[in-house]
Amino acid sequence: MPVTELSVFIENKHGRIADIANILGENEISIDGFDVAHTPNGYGIFRLMVKDVMKATKILAEKGFTVREKNVIAIGMEHKAKALSNILKTLAKENININYIYVAANNVLSVSTSNDEKAQKLLEEQGCKTLTQEDL
């Protein structure tokens, strides 16, 4: 089962990410992982992983943020040589493209691909440990 992450549309200006972190922090929501995608045109996306997706979405939306929930594959990676390359090779061999990828807390790898369902199945077949929301 995939994991749900949050994508927040942000303008590239001082304190915007800090605002998000503050709001979640004040509501006792811990950020388990995050990534920022940005453009040269002053806007971007702040992606974040949290355990309680519904609560986080609701709070951010109430504060005026534009938030979307998106599914990604979360993999519990071993901290050793070739761990990442094995995962990537598995996907590449089957012509699965990576939209974006980032590392979250506790060596969790978050991946969005061109075909998540197939990717997750392949990775599990290779013995990778895929995670659910509760595992984060």
């Binding site: 549309f9 303008e11 453009t39």
Partner: protein, 435 residues
């Protein structure tokens, strides 16, 4: 003193007055043939036969850009379409451009005005004229082109942009006169070193004809100093043909308006009365030498004042000061006229765009930059960057095709602009006092 068009340029004040009176009468009759002026004269009970002196001009209502837009595309045309040989268009205040028609005779007259203007500034047929203004619907390209040709100069119709090529042409064809916007002249001066030119004076230029955007005396002096040229101030607007309405003479103490073609007024934009002599106000022009599309008492929105006294060049055509600004919201960006309403028109036509936007005009070194920050609707955000970037590029492309210049588009969060600036502020011009 030598003249290009001796008869026109050496008219005395009395001769100018009587010529203007005659031409005004015939122009009114021509104008009455157009749908727009027929309606306007009839409505205001103006009998063209009753207009007998220049003073009577005050009975004719002003013509505005809105009138041009409302009569688009043919409402002000005063001749059958088959007498028209060219049209030019400029930015309207909304999506529609304003169009100006010319007959063969109109173009000949315009060309004569430009040729005598260039001559008056000091250019001669032995000069080589590189026209760095954009060709096309704008009048800066073709207007100067034909005038310079008529004068007998070799014209290089290179149009704007591509600095490397501009420099190559100047060097290979020994260009002595350029038609350029002041901002591009300053930009090019810094860029020259990249094309192997150590000192701008090495280019051997003698004249820089500059118009298209307001610039200060200081900027003119700076460009003269950098390139070792005579800066020739050139004023015009497409509604009144284009460049060649008013021009510096060699004395460079104000621009002569060619009064055998234009009746010149300066009004207080609030009271609409003539300003006192020497006071600043809005320039109002009546074209008295155009048959296809006469325009009467056109409010240019440009702010200037008359210069008193006689000019040392001997010409009696009245002089106006350098244009110091405008009394509307038109923006001039690298010589191209933009109305904020044009941007709004494009944005509000796109369902993905929310209601708030800000137009920011800034200077990147010497060139103007246009940035449009616009809010997007929340539902277009699907959590990935690709569709945002696709939307941004699409808005940029549509703006480019409508404004004819490039704008950078920054997407911002829904409702963020309203919260940060309030709705009233739509334009931030960071260039103020910087030209």
């Amino acid at each position: 003193m030598t003249y290009y068009n001796k008869k026109a340029e050496s008219l005395s004040r009395d001769e100018i007055t009587s010529l203007q009176t005659e031409k005004l009468k015939s122009t009114l009759k021509t104008a009455y043939k157009s749908e727009f002026y027929k309606k306007r004269f009839d409505k205001n009970k103006i009998d063209v036969e009753e207009i007998k002196t220049l003073d009577d001009l005050k009975h004719i209502p002003f013509t505005t850009k809105d009138d041009l837009r409302d009569s688009y595309p043919q409402g002000m045309l005063a001749v059958p379409m088959n007498k028209v040989v060219r049209m030019h268009a400029s930015s309207g205040t909304t999506g529609k451009p304003t169009v100006i028609y010319h007959s063969k005779k109109d173009l000949d007259n315009w060309t004569d005005l430009v040729a005598r203007s260039l001559y008056m500034s000091g250019m001669r047929k032995s000069d080589v004229f590189q026209n760095m203004m954009t060709y096309g619907l704008f009048t800066g390209g073709l207007g100067l082109h034909y005038g310079a040709e008529k004068l007998g100069m070799m014209v290089i119709p290179i149009s704007s942009g591509n600095s490397r090529r501009q420099v190559q042409m100047i060097e290979d064809f020994h260009t002595t006169a350029v038609h350029i916007t002041p901002s591009y002249a300053l930009h090019l001066a810094e860029d020259l070193v990249n094309y192997g030119v150590k000192n701008p004076r090495d280019l051997g230029l003698r004249f820089a004809v500059m118009g298209g955007e307001p610039y200060s005396e200081m900027t003119a002096k700076k460009i003269e100093d950098i390139y070792g040229v005579h800066a020739c101030n050139c004023y015009g607007l497409s509604e009144m043909n284009g460049p060649g309405v008013a021009f510096d003479c060699e004395a460079k103490l104000g621009m002569h308006v060619w009064e055998d073609n234009y009746i010149v007024e300066i009004i207080n934009p609030d009271t609409l009365e003539h300003v006192k002599e020497g006071e600043e106000g809005e320039l109002v022009l009546t074209h008295i030498n155009r048959e296809a599309m006469p325009i009467l008492r056109y409010r240019t929105k440009d702010i200037t004042s008359f210069i008193k006294g006689e000019c040392s060049c001997g010409r009696k055509h009245i002089r106006i000061k350098r244009i110091i600004g405008r009394n509307d919201d038109m923006l001039i960006i690298n010589g191209v006229n933009i109305f904020p309403s044009q941007v709004e028109h494009v944005l509000m036509d796109m369902p993905e765009v929310a209601n708030n936007y800000i137009i920011i005009v800034s200077k990147d070194h010497y060139l103007d930059r246009l940035t449009v920050k616009t809010e997007v609707k929340a539902d277009i955000f699907q959590g990935d960057i690709d569709n945002l970037m696709a939307l941004q590029k699409r808005i940029e492309a549509i703006l480019k095709s409508n404004l004819l210049i490039s704008a950078r588009v920054d997407l911002v969060e829904p409702l963020s602009l309203e919260a940060s600036t309030g709705k009233a502020v739509r334009v931030i011009d960071e260039r103020k006092n910087k030209f």
